[in-house]
Symmetry: C2
Subunit: 477 residues, 2 copies
């Protein structure tokens, strides 16, 4: 590893070196605190005398740009650096294509640590203190040893066999999903599973159907891939199958826990959906994002396990059960698309990082995942109970709850006209993060309401937070 300096010819060597180092430091390219190579090494690298290098260092030290620390070397001084000028944006021929991506607005980005509110009802986030770091650490240790045994090659695009095997057993047990390791592809989160499947199915201009309201990041992705996305209205039984366009090639649904409203898809609708997909040659993506947490009633079958014709791709994730930042999800793919999806995965990022894969395989095999889900389930059940009681109690003046049986968010709809934007704004001022439902409606008329996530909020914070929400509601209505 060498410091980047370019010397031309054999003349003015010291001056060339001085000018380049000075420029590198003043422009900020060499940041304050960077350690320069010992003069002997730099001299060797550049094929010039050591004396030339040490003289140059001395000169720069005199200028205040370098600083020598006895016994540890020569460093860039803090005073020297200034910000780099940015090159101006050129007129690229692809400017229109770039703008199409640049103008995408992803709603409800998770806040960074610094910007997070005390009481967050944001969806898709979890409580870190439920995650037993020690179990994960011991599995990571094991994974490091596994990794050490491999040669320094790329790994398989479809994911490690050990992990695919563990996931297949887990979802067969927990979700009745009909699969073996060879049907699975490991992805970097469910979002990448959607991307892989969508890439191999979508050609520009083709039609994609999805629930409306629905999961906006999936919609944005399909649109970015050039699809015409049609929002199909949902009712209490789920997607209105008869309103799916006949030319839809891809149908995206969330049958266990409709995103964002929460109701499960009825059995009759599931059957109708499978029938419709088969009749029109469409593939269904079943996004089973948080079905591990179920509170009432008996479980329903996954679409995948009802599918006898290979038209369902089942997508799952460990972002909800474990940690969003882990970025491990998976897809159970029918034979018609699996080889193509593996090619797409390979050309996209070759494969998912192996260390998290080995770690998770161990975590599942050791039974930590089931224990973890059981632990979270108990906590989420009590949070859900508190929220349901409040929305059935003092908050029932303004809201009604959409019935749901699973997951870790609820939806509530406004019973009376309400300025939701104002409510969200005032709640934010008292450290309560609220999120409106309306942005998830696309082609259907939006309904006013809130999505109440309870993965991230501490149980004891729920009542005080909802007290503040009630106080605001009383003020503004």
């Amino acid at each position: 590893m060498e410091l980047h300096v370019v010397i031309h010819g054999r003349k003015d060597l010291g001056e060339q070196l001085y000018t380049q180092l000075r420029e590198a430091i003043e422009s900020g390219r060499l940041a304050a605190g960077t350690r320069l190579p010992p003069s002997r090494l730099l001299a060797e690298q550049l094929g010039i005398s050591r004396r030339t290098v040490s003289d140059t260092y001395a000169l720069l030290t005199y200028d205040g740009l370098l600083i020598g620390k006895v016994g540890s070397g020569t460093f860039v001084n803090a005073r020297g650096a200034r910000a780099l000028p940015r090159p101006s944006a050129p007129a690229l021929a692809s400017a229109a294509a770039i703008a199409r991506w640049q103008n995408i607005v992803v709603p409800f980005l998770h806040p960074q640590l610094a910007g997070a509110l005390r009481c967050e009802f944001i969806g898709g986030a979890i409580s870190k203190n439920l995650f037993h770091q020690d179990d994960w650490r011991s599995c990571t240790q094991h994974a490091l040893r596994q990794m050490a045994r491999e040669r320094g090659f790329y790994s398989q695009p479809e994911g490690l066999t050990a992990l695919r095997d563990a996931i297949a057993r887990y979802i067969a047990f927990a979700r009745g999903v009909n699969c073996q390791a060879d049907d699975l592809v490991v992805c970097s989160g469910a979002q990448q599973a959607l991307d892989m499947i969508a890439r191999v199915l979508i050609e520009p201009g083709c039609t994609v159907a999805m629930e409306d309201p629905g999961y906006t990041p999936a919609r944005l992705l399909f649109v970015a891939l050039g699809a015409r996305v049609v929002g199909v209205p949902v009712d209490a039984d789920g997607i209105q199958v008869e309103r799916i366009p006949a030319d839809a090639r891809l149908i995206y649904v969330t049958p266990s826990h409709q995103f964002p409203l929460g109701m499960p898809m009825s059995l009759a609708r599931r059957e109708a959906l499978l029938e419709a997909a088969h009749a029109q040659g469409a593939l269904i993506i079943e996004d089973d994002y948080d079905c591990e947490f179920r509170y009432e009633g008996r479980p329903t079958d996954s679409l995948q396990s009802m599918d006898t014709r290979g038209v369902v791709a089942y997508v799952g994730t460990f972002s909800k059960t474990l940690l969003p930042e882990l970025r491990i999800g998976y897809a159970v793919l029918p034979p018609a698309i699996r080889p193509a999806v593996i090619k797409a995965k390979q050309l996209t990022d070759w494969h998912t990082s192996t260390l998290p894969q080995w770690t998770l395989a161990r975590f599942i095999a050791e039974g930590h995942l089931l224990k973890h889900i059981r632990r979270c389930h108990a906590v989420y059940a009590s949070r859900r109970e508190r929220i349901l009681q409040r929305f059935a109690g003092d908050l029932a003046t303004w809201f009604e709850i959409v019935p749901s049986t699973a997951g870790f968010h609820l939806a509530v709809l406004c019973k009376v006209p309400l300025n939701i934007a104002l409510l969200v704004e005032l709640a934010h001022k008292v450290e309560v993060g609220l999120y409106p439902l309306a942005p998830f409606f696309h082609d259907s008329p939006p309904r006013d309401g809130l999505m109440i996530g309870y993965g991230a909020i501490e149980t004891l914070d729920i009542d005080p937070a909802l007290d503040r929400v009630r106080d605001i509601l009383e003020q503004i209505t």
Copy 2:
């Protein structure tokens, strides 16, 4: 976490449970060794009596499908399972799109551990024993502590600030790349960096230019995105700039170490390339995949550092310096495309897994990366020396070396007519992995020769392996 069983109504409860469990075990959905929930828990979950459950378990045990182990529970017996029938492939409306992906052939896949030869001259692989697992482990420990401090939210799509900062300092120091943390996006390997950039620039039918011969996975990716890819011939100075099509919107090059031939791009060509790109509004991808290892001559400036107009996206990776399976790469992006690329990253997989990011940030900050590169450099230099001596010596009858100064592979061209396919086949039989150059040529007439990677082969194996190659050559010519 519950076992997935669906009970309808209140009749024939035991029979419903028996039928479903039997089907789940016989179909292999519940794999041999899977532990069933205690009868009390399953009864509670299904809202049926405990007696019904334990009777059913007893019946299945009698059938030989379950096995009870005193003190530890009830398990699926090994005899029960048989393979699942696969659903037949339906006629999907997207069949043509799927076939386009499915038929992609990626050359030179890395072998799995089991299929690897003793002496591998494959490119892009590294020697695991050069990687000091202990340093990585201690940084992983540190990373786990960092992770524990965050809340359970998604992280930033562009990558952790700590890592972007560390990479910016590292490439400014080592490659003279003109950047700060805010110019960088962390990706899952260089392949994903290419994918992100290509996605925001390429619209179906637009022209992309790349070196020919060139890096096939990049070409396959551009084609899959719908581009018309034009291979531009290279000579001893690199890409022949005047032959780049005037309507190319994206130009992909490897200036430090042309892939696969190895020669660096001359200064004059670099200047001409920047000029041409600016004139036609094209963006250049500079893939600097293995430039950390330089053996001769003085370093050359990166295109990125010569670029005053913001037309270069610089792509780097830790697959070559550290480990391919780590899947961390990065792109230094000009302002014209960075916001769009961040959106693409977000819709593709939200962000790269945080644990490897924290680990690498620490690994760089602690100086382990520089030490590691220095260590590898010394080893690679001696391997390279051995290979050069052999190809300048006894193998010079058949091959000539393409001059190069960096990286960890060399290219050799045939001086006499040779049956390369036969050579590769016979070498494989004596545990020597050789890889022809021809598959990297696309629009230009292929030249016979070999790509000789020396990242994965042990130094002491080089001479015996090349002895075997010479013996084969003597036989077949």
